[in-house]
């Protein structure tokens, strides 16, 4: 089976469209709910028959779910690794479920339902990982959609639930609400003013945590941080979300303040640096992924500061996803070596920027 991403509503990347609030700073918002089906071992200990039963039960429940109307099911266990990587690069499946780690190949029964801004990973670390993804800063809305889907599926599939411990998960760090609420936020101002460490330490003191662009275990690249709740037990979903909203608002204010300081105290140095980033992306003939990410971070800041106009945040968001290896191979229609990918990336970025040639503001 070869993947056809046109089957997905908006290719599964409507969360990139920069339509949400504060979208120049907050890329996207995600709610993840971990659930398990009662009566079976958790995925890592489940036998193949159990994983396939879980998949069958979720499929049956999904068929009657209004939230998943029009959603498409991808059986990861039937896809080539290149296609699984493609879904991972779009933030639609985790690395673990996609079986991208050589030591943990894809397991029978691994699948994902993808609908418009909603998804369900099946047989990940937990039997179900419900995901709701929104553009910009929209925690309450994202939670509403995830909760509606959760009610629909939980009304058909019996979840593992304990009156004292709440929703039971394979890892006790997710037990209780099973909820991880996160925002993907761009903080170049705080990084450049060297305020970032203080902000990150503050987050941890408030029971929050941060990760890189691709979640757990991923590095921070291009000044993108995923901020999320750390605890899942002893607080309600609403309390956890309210706290995150409150803290992220403060972080946004701090970032805006840092940007003002930069412009005031180092105006021409910053301006020069950001235009050089734009120039490199506009004309380079070879770009590594890291380089592309770092220069894109600069250009995104320049757009936020209105130094560059006529370039949409949506275009920049798309470049983040589409300049990754599996996407470049997909566009080129063949597997690329590292240097071929670097050249294809530079070409792709050049074309995208040329078609929207930014102008000096």
């Amino acid at each position: 089976m070869t993947i056809d991403l046109s089957l997905l509503p908006d290719g599964g990347v409507s969360w990139l469209d920069a339509s949400g609030s504060h979208s120049d700073i907050v890329l996207s918002t995600r709610i993840r709910l971990a659930r398990n089906v009662d009566g079976y071992a958790f995925t890592s200990r489940a036998r193949e028959g159990e994983r396939l039963r879980v998949l069958a039960q979720v499929r049956e429940a999904a068929a009657t779910s209004a939230s998943l109307a029009g959603a498409f099911l991808f059986r990861l266990d039937e896809l080539q690794s290149q296609d699984r990587l493609l879904l991972h690069e779009r933030h639609l499946v985790s690395k673990e479920l996609a079986g991208l780690d050589a030591n943990h190949p894809v397991k029978a029964g691994s699948a994902v339902f993808l609908g418009d801004g909603l998804g369900v990973m099946i047989n990940e670390e937990d039997h179900l990982r419900l995901q709701s993804l929104r553009s910009g800063f929209a925690l309450a809305e994202a939670y509403e959609r995830a909760a509606a889907l959760d009610r629909e599926l939980g009304g058909r599939v019996p979840y593992a639930y304990h009156p004292e411990f709440g929703f039971l998960t394979a890892c006790p760090t997710n037990t209780g609400t099973g909820m991880r609420a996160s925002v993907l936020i761009h903080l170049p101002g705080l990084v450049l003013t060297k305020e970032i460490q203080r902000v990150l330490t503050g987050l941890q003191q408030m029971g929050l945590t941060y990760r890189g662009l691709y979640g757990e275990g991923s590095e921070v690249v291009g000044n993108f941080f995923q901020i999320s709740n750390q605890t899942t037990l002893g607080r309600s979903e609403d309390e956890l979300i309210d706290q995150l909203v409150h803290v992220v608002r403060r972080v946004i204010e701090k970032e805006e303040e840092a940007r003002r300081v930069l412009q005031r105290d180092a105006g021409y140095i910053i301006e020069d640096k950001l235009w050089r980033a734009y120039g490199t992306l506009r004309f380079a003939r070879s770009l590594t992924f890291e380089e592309a990410m770092n220069y894109l971070s600069g250009v995104r800041l320049a757009v936020g500061l209105k130094l560059i106009t006529g370039l949409s945040v949506y275009t920049l968001n798309k470049l983040l996803v589409f300049s990754q290896p599996a996407h470049l191979s997909y566009v080129e229609g063949r597997t690329l070596t590292e240097s071929e990918a670097a050249q294809a990336r530079a070409r792709y970025v050049r074309d995208a920027l040329a078609s929207e040639a930014g102008s000096n503001g």
């Binding site: 398990n36 009662d38 009566g39 079976y40 071992a41 958790f42 890592s44 200990r45 036998r47 028959g49 159990e50 039963r53 069958a56 039960q57 049956e60 670390e125 909760a147 939980g154 009304g155 058909r156 599939v157 019996p158 979840y159 593992a160 639930y161 304990h162 009156p163 004292e164 411990f165 709440g166 929703f167 039971l168 394979a170 890892c171 006790p172 760090t173 037990t175 209780g176 609400t177 909820m179 029971g207 605890t231 899942t232 037990l233 002893g234 607080r235 309600s236 979903e237």
Partner: protein, 162 residues
């Protein structure tokens, strides 16, 4: 898992045998199982399971939980410490004391205060789904030598009809 008899096809029938008071497992593919006269539609031998299990039970002494293993999935706290993952929902009851302490350390609390949940009533679920689920649980019960539970599951499957 490969068939113990032909060593070629996947085993789909898992038999528990008792020879000289020792419990052993036999895994067979559909074809070999049929040749040995085993009914494959429910993956179990045809002779009355209740009586068969009653005999076994007297011979299997220590209950799994007391040996520090989950009665459903067979995982121990040692397995959990090695993998960082629990084996199944039942582990939360089996290791309740240790887990309550661990949850308190991780989250600062051990009591859920978020959304509550009631599982759907069985009459609202598809018979086929329930049957499939019970069969999987029966296989696991036999594998983990919980023969009383296996007998009960077998009866429930019988009530639902084949």
């Amino acid at each position: 898992m490969i068939c113990d008899s032909c060593k070629e096809r996947d085993a789909v029938v898992h038999l528990t045998q008792i020879v000289d008071n020792a419990v052993s497992q036999l895994h067979l593919c559909e074809k070999c199982a049929a040749e040995k006269g085993v009914e494959t539609s429910v993956g179990l031998p045809q002779h009355p399971l209740g009586q068969f299990l009653a005999e076994v039970q007297q011979q299997v002494a220590v209950p799994a939980a007391e040996a520090g293993r989950c009665t459903f999935c067979g995982a121990s706290m040692k397995d959990f410490r090695a993998a960082g993952r629990l084996g199944c929902p039942r582990c939360y009851t089996t290791f309740e004391g240790s887990l309550r302490e661990l949850l308190r350390r991780v989250h600062g609390h051990s009591r859920h205060v978020g959304r509550t949940y009631d599982a759907p009533a069985p009459e609202h679920r598809e018979q086929d789904t329930i049957r499939g689920e019970l069969r999987e649980r029966l296989r696991r019960a036999i594998e983990s030598e919980q023969f009383e539970l296996a007998a009960e599951l077998r009866d429930r499957i019988r009530v639902l009809g084949e």
